[in-house]
Amino acid sequence: GGSSPEEPGTDASGPSKVTVGVIPIVDVAPIYLGKEKGFFSSRGIDLELVTAQGGAAIVPGVLSGDFQFGFSNITSLMIAQTKNVPVRIVANGAASTGVPGKDFGGVAVAKDSPITSAAGLAGRKVAVNTLKNIGDTTVRESVRKAGGDPAGIEFVEIGFPDMPAALESGQVDAAWVVEPQLSAVKAAGGTVIASNFTDTAPNLTIAAYFAGTKLIADEPELVKNFTEAINESLAYADAHPDEVRAVLSSYTKISEEVRTALILPKWPTEVNRASLATLAALGTTDGIFGDAAPDLGKLLP
């Protein structure tokens, strides 16, 4: 991008303005909570959160300097890395709960579906939010673990919000859904037949906060402060689920009822490197990185 970044943090006297591109989903609750709790302002960061629909808009925003930081799922970041997009993870984002059947995302089928386990998905139509990404990779792994053959699965791209309807109307046989849609599916009588995150790795890291390498090089102080603030937020969120559920109402429209019942992700402060290596290996096998393989050393902080 031609536009020059707004030189955040250079002004030593006042707080530096920091814009973060996030997706309005449960995963980013800690940063909203942290903002509310003053974890950022106490470090001289005047935080602004801008919601976008997905990585497609956030990554260019980070590269152009419009956002200083962004939130993205790990596989997308790995893909970016293989394409030499100059970004690097600065803090953990969200992680699987690691409890099979009680994760914040999973593979669900509709009421009365004949499919009862991941093995039954072979040859079926399965919805994921984005093809060639974390969804299909992990679902395949679930199927493998259950002894099925993932080769014949027909993945269909459907946005999370549209999955409950697609599932119920039988347009797909199964869907990989996350909260809050997971709750909606369950409410409509659907059942979770596999927890693809936990099947892939224990405590799989799903998403992370990242920044452009230029910012990391030019303003280490700011990045350090941001990382600390995020980490404090993550830890606080993990410890105070009720406050997390409360803060959800400030930036989402998830109904009260669902908010109190939905399964929250885990928010460890450390990126689980081993799980990422697994994810990278799976992705490479599935060919989602093309011919390349991600170099995690260049991606992780």
């Binding site: 893909i79 394409k83 459907i158 946005g159 347009q171």
Partner: protein
Amino acid sequence: MRIVYWLGLPIVLVVAWWVATAGSTDFYVPPLQSIVAVFFDVWTLDRLRADVLPSLLRLLAGFALALLLGVGLGVLIGSRPRVRATVEPVLEFLRAVPPPVLVPVIMLFAGIGDGMKILVIVSGCVWPILLNTVEGVRAVDGVLTETARAYGLTGPARLWRLTLPAASPQIVAGARQALSLAIILMVISEMFAASSGLGYTIVEFQRSFAIPEMWTGIILLGLLGVVLSGLFRLAETAILGWYHGLRRAQKG
């Protein structure tokens, strides 16, 4: 001479693009050279057959359907002021709903197959045809209308021999608009529940940070637009020969 006209400006623009991006280090705006370099690697015959052809067929199906629907409804609405007054607000309502939020609703009714994608194309590109047909029908010359009435031209004969030809210049204008919209909507429709197709491929390139490849897709869309509009021009010349003659009549 024609060729010079057709190629003149594009060549200038391409050269300008080439020069302007020659040393570009911007991740999202790669040098044109590197875009061109990957073009033929990306758009192999196989890929054209697997991704572009189905898209194209859906596009044509959607366009044809929109044409039918737009002209049919347009004639009805345009020739009856009361019908127009009744349905116009509803149509305007539907028209203002953005396709990306409309698609999920369409999916409720039409599933996620080709039918849905064609419907999405129709839902977007029917409007210019409809509006132009309505206005074209309303604007049929009063003397011609009276002539037709005096000679007992009613029913289908009136439709085929008066209303449609008289409104055809404006209908064609609408169809021309719709054609490019159809291409755009083809892309949008493939952002939902797709795993192949030209639009999907472009989005997929974009998501996987294959930026030069994404640009080749955009260029292909443009080229597709040029080819389709060339075909359209042929059809237009055939249908509106009289009109072009009439409008040029006294120009020498």
